[in-house]
């Protein structure tokens, strides 16, 4: 664990993240450029036609939206066990991106639904559980903003994140169960033609790198903000 704690030091973190950030940002841009170019030039699907292109925007957002909750949960656990302020900062910085990517997944899902199902919103199991995930992110962010004392807010939010971690698989299971009870439509047979696989994987990587880049920038901003506040307090006293 020692290597982890070395980079949990804000100074070390600033040094390392400042050095790698430009490379990650360029890699993100490259992935999006290649992925989108390939995504728009794939042959139309025999069932979905040209709307298959939406898959390259929708599915990676789906995956990253869930991954971010995992990132928040890991940071929360680190924060509760080792009480390290940087993991609190990281958890707080990740939450708006969780809400954002969930919103992107829901909106692109709805736009995809219009040509596929003939309506923007069907109460499909995946869309419904993503809507609930979106509200979980909103609640988490609201709690962060509501508690003034930063240490207390951090620990309360960490507990909430872990409670959510236990509950999310149950929510997903219950929504799936509900969807079969009400005979919802089933999509995504799981098989995918190799032509579509390459752009999908590149976009998947691109979305992950995009989140990682933005996350780093937000954590760095939060650290700089805290330093500025400390300097101002020192100057005032």
């Amino acid at each position: 664990m020692n290597w982890l704690f070395r980079y949990a030091n804000p100074h070390e973190f600033m040094r390392l993240s400042g050095a790698v950030l430009p490379y990650i940002a360029v890699a993100t841009a490259l992935c999006f450029a290649i992925g989108l170019y390939l995504g728009f030039s794939v042959p139309p699907d025999y069932q979905q036609g040209t709307t298959i292109t939406l898959m390259f925007i929708h599915v990676p957002a789906d995956v990253v939206a869930e991954l971010i909750y995992g990132a928040i949960a890991v940071c929360s656990l680190l924060s509760l066990v080792w009480r390290h302020p940087l993991s609190d900062t990281a958890a707080r910085a990740a939450a708006p991106f969780g809400a954002l990517f969930t919103a992107v997944a829901i909106i692109t899902g709805a736009l995809w639904g219009k040509p596929m199902w003939g309506t923007y919103w069907v109460w499909d199991a995946r869309l419904t559980s993503f809507l609930l995930l979106f509200f979980l992110y909103l609640g988490y962010m609201a709690l962060w903003n509501a508690i003034e004392d930063e240490t207390r807010a951090a620990r309360a939010c960490a507990i909430l994140a872990l409670v959510g971690l236990v509950d999310i698989p149950i929510i997903k299971f219950s929504v799936d169960w509900w969807s079969t009870l009400h005979q919802g439509e089933s999509i995504m047979s799981g098989k995918i033609a190799p032509v579509y696989l390459a752009p999908l994987l590149i976009m998947m990587l691109g979305y992950n790198l995009l989140f990682f880049t933005l996350w780093m920038v937000r954590i760095r901003t939060a650290i700089l903000e805290r330093r500025a506040r400390n300097l101002m307090q020192q100057a005032a006293s």
Binding site: L136, Y140, I171, V175, W177
Partner: protein, 222 residues
């Protein structure tokens, strides 16, 4: 154990006497159930179809009304500090508060539900399932609600944030509870839904006192 019982009785008395939050929750429950036919129309077939879902949602909302005061009153007047000093671990204190909340809201709501189900034209066998599902599921509402209440106990506007935090966590309760009634109406067995609901409620009651106690400790500055 006597400390536990004393705390339980005290909280039930408080719910029954000061402000009468139990009676308020019941009135709210009945009022929401009255507004729904006014909104969707008095078609008895339609009402029977939606009764399970409407009454479940109304019961969860009614239970939410008094949740934000679960720890807050004791926190504000300092009695929570005294309770924390007692030999009873905070986990059991939280369990006593959850039990008191359920006995003063969840249980009365469950007892009232057959009357409202009658007004919604729900067939008797489905009403029985609704009653059992509320009996099994409302403890989970109190238990998970206690986590939300302890997270927001120091907040002035806690009552606004609390529903946002716990309603998504409670979605399985509504799904399995209303699902059991819907399955019965469709002529299917409700056993699996009730079983899942009972499992969820049991897990919630076992685990949430620990989460709630951790939050209370945090707010007491421990």
């Amino acid at each position: 154990m006597s400390v536990f019982a004393t705390l339980l009785m005290r909280d039930i008395k408080l719910a029954a006497r000061s402000g009468g939050s139990a009676a308020l929750a019941l009135s709210f429950f009945a009022l929401v159930a009255t507004l729904v036919p006014l909104g969707v129309g008095a078609d008895l077939h339609l009402l029977a179809r939606v009764a399970g879902g409407v009454l479940w949602v109304a019961a969860v909302l009614a239970a939410l009304l008094s949740l934000d005061r679960l720890f807050q009153g004791d926190f504000e007047d300092g009695s929570l500090d005294v309770i924390a000093l007692s030999p009873l671990p905070l986990e059991l204190t939280s369990l006593a508060k959850i039990a008191a909340h359920w006995l003063s809201t969840g249980l009365p709501l469950t007892v009232l539900s057959p009357v409202l189900a009658l007004m919604f034209n729900l067939p008797p066998h489905a009403t029985a399932i609704l009653f059992v599902s509320l009996l099994a599921g409302t403890p989970a509402v109190s238990a998970i609600g206690a986590i939300g209440a302890s997270l927001t106990l120091s907040l002035k506007r806690g009552g606004l944030i609390l529903p946002l935090i716990i309603l998504p966590l409670l979605s399985p309760v509504v799904i399995f509870g209303a699902g059991a009634v819907a399955a019965t109406l469709d002529g299917m067995a409700a056993g699996s839904a009730l079983g899942l609901l009972a499992a969820f409620a049991t897990a919630a009651m076992l685990l949430s006192p620990f989460a709630a106690a951790a939050c209370v400790r945090l707010n007491l500055g421990g």
